[in-house]
């Protein structure tokens, strides 16, 4: 950690004033960017607190005149997402049922894969890793149709296990990359020592690598949770009535084509849909930086 203010002192007085000015400038710049990042959230929150009448007549980016929570109530439990008008509440649970197992499984598999690729290298391991990494880049639009066919053949089309399966498959590249990049920073001698101590493949993973992995697990979980919770394309394509995730409900509220638009409800629904990921970011944010520091970003 360095400090701009630690410059050699020419004149004590000058340095002191310069230091204070620099400090102010620093906070000013950080503040300006904070405004840039917060602006859309500000618009969303203020809009969600306005009445539809006020939105129709007033300035879209102004503060609400009368604060009302009606839109939030409607979004949660009253907005129409089809013929049901139960808001996003029923879909929220579907998303949880999809995201939690998918994140858990893809993280565990990523950890095991990363462990193999980094520490149990065999002939061709590099090629396998490269192929998996390249897989991260396949546009999801490409895989929709063949995936639909295979899910049908596997008998899990339209089900939550089917969606979990899809998310796990296309999350593997990134989770493997994260864990691999973390595990390569762990010295190979550790594995060797454990082998000589008599520990096997799984024992070494369980007793030595997993306890070391908390930071990278946090990083991976944040990444995967964000990706899966916010996914729309897979959610809309591989679900059926009763298994649709919250993004589909949100889309149904926001993107109705020939109906009346209730922007306040749209925004409230959007914030509700984003709450779990926001929560994850706020709570785990500290560990996120720490996890990245601990080596995940080292090539």
């Amino acid at each position: 950690m360095t400090d701009f203010s630690m410059t050699p002192a020419h004149s004590r007085q000058q340095t002191r004033w310069g230091k204070i000015a620099l400090r102010w400038l620093l906070y000013l710049i950080l503040g300006v960017f904070a405004v840039y990042y917060l602006m859309p959230l500000f618009v969303m929150v203020t809009t969600s607190l306005k009445s539809l009448e006020e939105i129709r007549t007033g300035n879209l980016v102004a503060l609400p005149r009368d604060v009302t929570l009606d839109a939030w109530k409607t979004a949660w439990s009253g907005a129409c997402t089809g013929i049901q008008c139960d808001g996003v509440r029923p879909y929220f649970w579907n998303s949880v049922l999809i995201a939690v197992p998918a994140v858990a499984i893809s993280t565990l598999l990523g950890a095991l894969n990363g462990y193999v690729v980094a520490h149990w290298r065999f002939r061709g391991a590099n090629v396998i890793f490269a192929l998996m990494l390249f897989g991260c880049f396949i546009p999801f639009q490409v895989v929709l149709l063949p995936m639909a066919r295979l899910l049908g053949l596997m008998g899990i089309a339209g089900t939550i296990p089917g969606l979990i399966f899809v998310h796990v498959i296309y999350g593997l590249g990134f989770t493997t990359l994260f864990f691999r990049n973390y595990y390569v920073t762990i010295p190979a001698e550790l594995t060797k020592a454990a082998k000589v101590d008599g520990a096997g493949f799984l024992r070494i993973f369980w007793s030595i690598f997993l306890p070391l992995s908390l930071p990278i697990i946090v990083v991976t979980v944040i990444w995967q949770f964000t990706q899966i919770w916010n996914d729309f394309l897979f959610g809309v394509s591989f679900s059926q009535a009763g298994t649709q995730p919250i993004t589909v409900a949100l889309n149904n509220i926001v993107n109705s084509t020939t109906g009346v638009k209730e922007y306040n409800v749209d925004m409230a629904a959007a914030i509700i849909a984003a709450l779990p990921t926001l929560l994850v970011y706020v709570v785990a944010g500290k560990y996120f930086i720490r996890g990245l520091t601990a080596g995940s970003v080292k090539g």
């Binding site: 095991l112 396998i128 390249f134 897989g135 396949i138 639009q141 925004m267 944010g285 970003v297």
Partner: protein
């Protein structure tokens, strides 16, 4: 027998993931390549007709726009996100008291789905509703900020929103990198009287090369897959001025029932990805073989 299992356990553990990737990525790519050679419309057909879809693709002015946009958008998005991320990380690394809060503010856009934030951005950027209207209402009647509705500038609004979404993540990557740089080196440089900016440009930033690589991969992946963003912000407009290959492909496959055309555009996209990613993989794997 147990010895065999012991020796092959790593392969056994990796196998399911590998097979999955083989089938669900490479199998599907082969499938797409095949379909791109057919006249598939609503649903895939498998009678090979030659390269007609590629000829159609290259004859379509919209595809030209989409590819040009990809390069323009991709380059700006990646470069600015990196520069901004690095700058913010350096600023945030100056023992800022409220670092936790600011960091969260910079990072949160990554958590939001573009389906919605796109609408908010649309309002903010709309000259009649957002920033332009606001600044004008303050009395600056000649203020103009109409990129969103200007076909020549609209792609830059996509860049703006995309940077908003991802630069915080890049900032986090760089911040982590700064924290893991050996502080002794920095102290030593300061004792030598080297100015701070030189310390950063000559010592710290070069030592974060692997992070640039990771950031590049994450950003390149986002740039190529950018889809929600365009749909929500401009819908590809004005006209099709902000079309990207991903939106083109989606429009062909799902709005227009022209799957063969979508498949051919997908193959070209994968070709672009390949030329970007392979050098990275090469350097990654070469480094490992040392």
């Amino acid at each position: 027998m147990s010895k065999w299992i012991e020796d092959h356990l790593p392969k056994v553990v990796l196998a399911p993931s590998f097979i999955a990737v083989l089938v669900f990525v490479y199998g599907f790519l082969i499938w797409t390549a095949w379909v791109s050679l057919t006249r598939s419309r609503l649903l895939p057909k498998y009678d090979i007709e030659g390269v007609i879809q590629y000829k159609r693709l290259f004859a379509a002015p919209r595809w030209d726009v989409a590819m040009n946009n990809l390069f323009l958008f991709g380059a700006l998005f990646i470069v600015i996100s990196m520069v901004l991320g690095l700058l913010l990380a350096i600023l945030l690394d100056q023992n800022i008291r409220t670092e936790g809060a600011i960091r969260t503010i910079y990072l949160y856009p990554m958590a939001l789905s573009m389906i919605v934030t796109g609408t908010a951005w649309k309002w903010i950027l709309n000259p009649g509703l957002g920033i332009e209207a606001m600044v004008r209402s303050w009395g600056f009647e000649n203020f103009r900020f109409d990129w969103l509705v200007n076909p020549d500038m609209a792609i830059y609004t996509i860049v703006l929103a995309a940077i908003w979404q991802s630069s915080g993540f890049v900032m986090a990557l760089f911040l982590a990198g700064l924290r893991s740089v050996d502080t002794e080196i920095i102290r030593a440089a300061q004792v030598d009287g080297i100015p701070t900016w030189r310390v950063y440009s000559a010592i710290i930033i070069p030592s974060m090369a692997p992070i640039f690589l990771s950031a590049f991969i994450v950003l390149a992946h986002l740039a190529i897959k950018s889809f929600d963003l365009v749909i929500a912000l401009t819908g590809g407009g004005p006209g099709f001025a902000t079309d990207l290959p991903a939106t083109y492909m989606y429009a062909m496959a799902f709005s227009r029932g022209d799957i063969g055309q979508a498949a051919s555009s997908a193959m070209i996209m994968m070709g672009v990805v390949f030329t970007i990613v392979v050098p990275y993989l090469y350097s990654e794997l070469r480094a490992k073989n040392d």
